[in-house]
Amino acid sequence: MKTDIVLAGVGGQGILTIATILGAAALKENLFLKQAEVHGMSQRGGDVQSNLRISSSPIHSDLIPLGGADLIVSLEPMEALRYLPYLKESGWIVTNTQPFVNIDNYPEMEKVEAELARHPHVVAFNMDEVAKEVATARSSNLVLLGAASPFIEMDPEKITEAIAAVFGSKGEKIVESNIAAFREGRVRATEKM
């Protein structure tokens, strides 16, 4: 298997948690993994992305080449579009539709939605709302991970185990709520595929 993912969002939104969970799952499954992330000045509310590559054979580059990503997974709709040139022809975009507006010139939502709709392979829904419904407002990233999971060749149960391992120190309740968010995200995505 080989899945190349561009994780996108805004600094502080929590995209790196997704990488941590998939990383833990990949390690357990004896897969190869490379995950490049950005620290420092760019984390302060600016656009952030992480290249996550999972494969059953060795991975050369920490960065995904243009046109090489199987998936763009984003916590924010405009941020999903930022990385289009990295997407493969057959690649999928999985994104939250709730905008994060911290700039004056944020584009009109209709334009963002239209651009997303133009794409043949998109799973987009309001993950903040789903998170609030089934877990807590802070678990939209777990809903997103759930929504992306059908596109990653990994047993969802293994990802669930990784969620339990990553959040284990925070107590049973948080683990359960995060797993619920993950499962719901997966269900919603499967409906939309």
């Binding site: 490049a36 420092g40 600016g46 243009l66």
Partner: protein, 541 residues
Amino acid sequence: MKTKRLLLGDEAFALGAINAGLSGAYAYPGTPSTEILEFVQKDPVARERGIHSHWSSNEKTAMEEALGMSFCGKRSMTSMKHVGLNVAADPFVNSAMTGANGGLLVVAADDPSMHSSQNEQDSRFYADFAMIPLLEPSSQQEAYDMAAYGFELSERLAIPVVVRFVTRLSHSRAVVECHDEPAPENSLHYPANPLQWVLMPAMSKRRNRQLIADQESFERASEESPFNKYIEGADHRVGIVASGVAFNYLMECFDGNPPFPVLKISQYPLPKKSLRRLYDSCDSLLVLEEGQPVIERQLRGVFDAGKKIYGKLSGDVVRDGELSPDAVRASILKVRPDVKGLSEGAIHGDSDVVVSRPPALCPGCGHRDVYAALNAALAEYESPKVFGDIGCYTLGFLKPFSAIDTCVDMGASITMAKGASDAGQFPAVAIIGDSTFTHSGMTGLLDAINEDTSMLVIISDNLTTGMTGGQDSQGTGKLEEICLGLGANPAHVRTIDSLPKNVEEMKQLFKEEIEHKGLSVVISRRECIQTARRHAGAKKA
């Protein structure tokens, strides 16, 4: 036994060092090097052994502390971002003269593309300049392995060894195979040649000749290094020299099987024999290196008389910004348009809906209130100048504050404001964070105190090193005492909490102190909300 762990390049190296018998790690936080010392601070073996891992005041003190530990025969390392090596340059260059006793690794993490830096300087020049060996890992596994190898090399050649990271390796995670049993630490033992450590002319002259003579053995070590590899290829029209992470991008482009002969470089000084072998067997060379054209310059020389060399200097490889698989692919296509087996490249164009989203101070950050008050205080003057510094508060340059006129290097706010005031500038204001102040601001403040220069120094104290993620700051709880101890006039060292409700009061305070004809220091204080949150969370748990 070996275990597999998922580690950042920085962490892999730190763990490798601990497992190789490290006794002390010294550093000042700086992206992308910060996670090296942070890892040592958290590692259970390091804690149990009491391996030194406190933050130092700056890179110079860190380098000297590590050198002192090496003098005593123990394995030590110091880590810093590339520009930190400028701060540590004095002890660094002179450490080539003293040599190392216990293994000494100097880690410099370069930041091509300037993700969080002010320039793209390449630390390989420093190693060349100091005439000492350098290791350049291309993968997290190499980063891990090079720690033990580097210590051994440093002890065998009796010289400090530089380890060069770049952002993409420092901040990228991969599965790393590590040893389960950490090697014992060295015991205390003193240098075989103690005179070498007293750099007075008579001794230095002798030592310098030795260092020059040692270059041969350094080069031989590169020639024999397991990290430099010659890989055969069928198409001899181009031979490729690829160093560090550039090697990965090359392999990515050809899915691991480039048709051309390749020399992978991960240890310097350059292995001349291997380079000669590649040169002799190929019609031309392509040099792929992350950062500045260090290898290419050496190969090309002034006269550029031999076979064609493609690289950054010839315009065939992008010269600014970091490399990527795409940049390497473009260079290969430029040099050999007929090459087969390259990956495809982009299919979708850029979306025209997307706008840039620059970073900003966190909502609720105390620096915001300081800038609001400062802007209000300065609004009444015709041409105020505000000299900024390095930290989160540098973001005060951006809208909505547009509050600073300069940002150059650690500590330059105070000294540049002084120079400006000396030139007749009024008002001259310096704004500096607490950690930057103890890093390099104190000595400049002493200059201003000694001349009672008419200027205002604002120390925006957030009780941490905020930009790099909240490391302990060396001046916490001591800033007033430091200023007074340096001799500042107590009537003009004033403190205020930088809270939204105090903005008006802060503005008045700034105005009064700007009007004071002499040096004033205002310490505006509020804990960074990111660290405050973490502290609150830790208390709850």
